[in-house]
């Protein structure tokens, strides 16, 4: 018998790969269906039909769709995702620094938001229906209801313009020190923490409270354990699975979906890159961003499932 964990990894890896293939096909077809093509984009509106047709021949744009897809995939597998029209540099060279920037921002925000949210969720669950619980729920709802860009501007107004503690623009030069990074990222990270904290907090609270209805919690109370020990030692471990799922999704969301915050702080991340690529009709870059986004989501989903199994003895330890 194979260990269930190994079977799971193999199975999930396979289905992740399949999802990636499906997404890449959709992204490719989607961009191919847009009016105009690469030749048009490169040569501009004034190009002669003669020049267009020659360039199409040269770029292989007259080949059938499946063949073009194949060339694209084969290139991507070798680390070549084509040339970015707008900057005339290889797509990969444009993408990688932006991806790293996004990861730094997302992981910093997650490193603060997730433990804070779980902690607040535990406190709320411990004080269920009491004042503290209501205050935590209300403040977090209030924060999540303010649009992200407005939160960003409010923070800039207070901490950059008025108090002057942090810069309003998150521009980091290459080779900057850790202190510079922290200083520059403080406000965007704070904005993102406020964006994501409410979901994770509320989910943690709900997950713990639903576990609190279990017989083994009743048993722990009858054994005479303290409420704090019951919530932290008996309820939380069994509530981890949904909490891990939403945490991983939060990180994935932060990596790809923070275009508004990036725009507010002029931060050069993935979100802004894709929006710009669409605006400039830079199709190879759009395709690469699309695949990159789905890869991030697949990866973090996989991690979430994997961790859920690791924290569940019923799935981790074979029965016999």
């Amino acid at each position: 018998m194979r260990h269930p964990l190994l079977s799971f990894v193999i199975q999930r890896f396979g289905s992740g790969l399949l999802s990636l293939v499906v997404v890449s096909v959709l992204v490719f077809i989607g961009t191919a269906m847009l009016p105009g093509d690469a030749a048009q984009a490169i040569l501009g509106q004034d190009a002669t039909p003669q020049a267009l047709s020659e360039l199409r021949q040269e770029l292989g744009l007259n080949d059938p769709l499946y063949l073009r897809y194949w060339h694209w995939v084969a290139g991507a597998l070798q680390g070549d995702m084509g040339m970015s029209f707008s900057s005339n540099r290889p797509v990969v060279d444009v993408l990688i620094p932006r991806l790293i920037n996004s990861m730094i921002l997302a992981l910093s925000a997650a490193a603060i938001a997730i433990p804070l949210a779980i902690g607040l969720g535990i406190v709320a669950a411990l004080n269920r229906e009491k004042l503290l619980d209501r205050v935590i729920s209300m403040v977090s709802m209030w924060l999540v209801s303010i649009p992200a860009f407005l939160k960003g501007y409010i923070l800039i107004a207070i901490f950059a313009t008025h108090l002057g503690w942090f810069p309003g623009l998150a521009i980091v030069r290459r080779g900057a020190s850790l202190g510079d990074w922290a200083n520059a990222l403080a406000l965007p990270v704070a904005t993102l923490v406020f964006v994501t904290i409410a979901h994770t907090m509320r989910l943690t609270r709900t997950a713990i409270l639903s576990v609190m209805a279990s017989d083994y919690i009743l048993m722990a109370e009858i054994k005479g354990l303290s409420p704090r020990r019951i919530v932290i030692r008996h309820a939380l471990p069994n509530a981890l699975s949904p909490i891990l799922s939403i945490s991983m999704l939060t990180i994935a969301f932060l990596m790809v979906g923070v275009v508004v915050v990036e725009a507010v702080f002029s931060y050069t991340g993935m979100g802004k890159l894709m929006v710009d690529a669409v605006a400039y009709r830079d199709l190879p870059l759009v395709q690469a961003c699309g695949v990159c986004f789905s890869l991030v989501f697949i990866l973090f989903n996989f991690t979430a499932d994997f961790l859920s199994i690791l924290v569940n003895p019923r799935l981790r330890e074979p029965k016999a």
Binding site: Y216, M219, H234, N238, V311, P313, R314
Partner: protein, 527 residues
């Protein structure tokens, strides 16, 4: 001053009264049995005795004094200390009462972990000696396991081990064997009896099973709707009950009430050499079976014996791996999807849990109309007439037709399920543990109903059960299954009077009775 004194206890959940006017006392070393139907308040009383109220419940008046201390006026912290050191609780479902996240040894000795000076190694040794005392297999390795890795009977014993950790003065056993098979129940009862004797502690034993409680307890308190009906010495309750309700409870186990002559008719359903399984596992092998009209065939076995699997296959819900099923000599399609409406109509299935089998958002009328419309093409006045007749037949008021299942009692819901099957005018009724979720007296009334219906309508019944008492009273013939195979079959009276197989004998011997000294005799013969 008694060891435990509960006086004039009134316990409420919101406005609802759960217990009222309860006055019970017990002495040190005594075993007190609490018996009653579900909802009678027996678990609530058992928990109140150790000063525990479920969330939302509160004591409106009265007093609970344990060893001279008033539990209801104690501070939370004092109460926690008391629960850690002096009292213990053994829950009904060990599978649900152990935290799935931790190893058994860590949970069993958790209270010791609160004391800093006790090391992990010492705790492991404490766990080992407790497991050894409860005769668990490989006690040195047992504690390393997680709850899902051990059997139900072992888990129940592990919970008793947890209860004994701090040598409690009072242990509350809350239906500790209800979820177990009879032979496993026997092992656990033996352990409980032994532990109470060694420990010299007082115990409260909560159960709905009069036979079990009569074997364990010195004194019995009969509860109904949150009120004490009667309390007396065990023998007095069994042999000479003072109240009508207690008399009904004691009487319901009379043997051979229903059983008449088995049918001479030809088999309607015949299964030949069935092999059945799920996924990679074959769980039933080589099962033959016939059911004729007017006949009740009991298919008896412990959990995991494959009895429900056989029923599902006859109903067409699980195509056999090998073997065939015939109806009136003609082969049936394996899968219910390929059976004609007429065949589906003839074989009807009643489930164990009426709660799950009835759509909670559908009125009784809609649930019963469906088979009448589908199989009999009834509509309008004739449909209405038939609905009324069906309700009369299952002894339900016609007004209930417009209720939702949520507004019915458990027994009423099962009657609706029976009516729904009858609506199809079946030849064969498959009853899968149809009374095991019901209280003793309700079970009795459902059995009487089924018995009358099968006579009036000349239906054949395949009655799946783990309950030997019910089988003895209800079935013409019996088939005993163990681990997916038939071990013995015959007329019920012959098999029960003169079992031919060791397994059948063991099964029959494990069935508790109210006879004085039964448990002691069992312990003497098996140890």
């Amino acid at each position: 001053m008694s060891f435990l004194e509960i006086s004039d206890l009134l316990l409420k959940a919101g406005d609802k009264t759960l217990l009222s006017n309860i006055s019970v006392t017990m002495e040190k070393g005594e075993v007190l049995g609490l018996i009653g139907e579900s909802g009678a308040g027996k678990s609530t009383l058992g928990l109140a005795a150790i000063g525990f109220m479920r969330p939302g419940c509160h004591v409106a008046s009265g007093e609970v004094r344990l060893m001279g201390q008033s539990l209801l006026t104690m501070l939370q912290e004092e109460l926690r200390q008391l629960r850690q050191q002096k009292v213990a609780y053994v829950a009904q479902s060990a599978a649900a009462a152990f935290n799935p996240f931790y190893r058994l040894e860590d949970q069993v000795t958790e209270l010791r972990a609160l004391q800093k000076e006790v090391s992990k190694l010492e705790r492991r040794e404490i766990a080992r000696s407790l497991f050894e005392r409860l005769q668990l297999p490989e006690p040195e390795k047992f504690g390393r396991k997680y709850p899902h890795q051990v059997s139900g009977g072992q888990l129940q014993r592990a919970m008793i081990a947890m209860a004994l950790l701090n040598d409690p003065e009072l242990v509350v056993f809350d239906e500790p064997t209800t979820a177990l098979d009879v032979t496993t129940q026997m092992e656990v009862l033996r352990v409980i009896r032994q532990v109470i004797a060694e420990q010299q502690c007082a115990a409260i034993y909560v159960s709905h099973d009069l036979a079990v409680i009569s074997q364990i307890s010195d004194r019995i308190v009969v509860l109904r709707n949150g009120v004490v009906v009667e309390q007396a010495e065990t023998r007095k309750i069994i042999d000479n009950p003072a109240q009508d309700y207690t008399r009904a409870l004691v009487a319901h186990r009379k043997v051979g009430e229903f059983v008449g002559q088995p049918s001479e008719a030809n088999a309607v359903i015949e299964a030949r050499a069935l092999d059945l399984g799920y996924g990679a596992n074959t769980v039933v092998r080589n099962v033959d079976l016939q059911i004729a009209r007017g006949e009740i065939v009991a298919l008896v076995g412990e959990s995991g014996s494959g009895k429900t699997t056989v029923a599902r296959s006859i109903a067409g819900l699980l195509p056999p791996r090998a073997g065939e099923i015939f109806m009136n000599g003609k082969k049936l399609a394996d899968n219910v999807d390929h059976r004609t409406d007429d065949i589906r109509r003839r074989i009807q299935f009643i489930h164990q849990l009426p709660d799950v089998a009835l759509n909670p958002r559908q009125r009784v009328r809609a649930a019963l109309s469906r088979p009448l419309q589908k199989f009999l093409n009834l509509s309008g006045a004739s449909l209405q007439k038939r609905l009324d007749d069906l309700m009369d037949e299952v002894e339900l008021s016609r007004e209930l037709l417009d209720r939702y299942p949520g507004a019915l009692s458990g027994g009423q819901k099962q009657r609706v399920c029976i009516a729904r099957c009858l609506a199809a005018e079946p030849d064969i009724l498959i009853c899968d543990e149809v009374t095991s979720a019901l209280d003793a007296l309700v079970e009795d009334s459902i059995l009487k109903l089924l018995w009358r219906l099968q006579r009036q309508r000349d239906i054949g019944i395949l009655f799946i059960t783990h309950n030997l008492g019910v089988t003895r009273r209800f079935a013409h013939s019996v088939i005993i299954m163990e681990s997916g195979k038939i071990v013995e079959r015959g007329l019920t009276k012959d098999v029960f009077a003169n079992p031919g197989q060791e397994y059948t004998r063991r099964l029959l011997a494990s069935e508790p009775t109210t006879r004085q000294g039964w448990l002691d005799d069992q312990l003497a013969t098996t140890s």
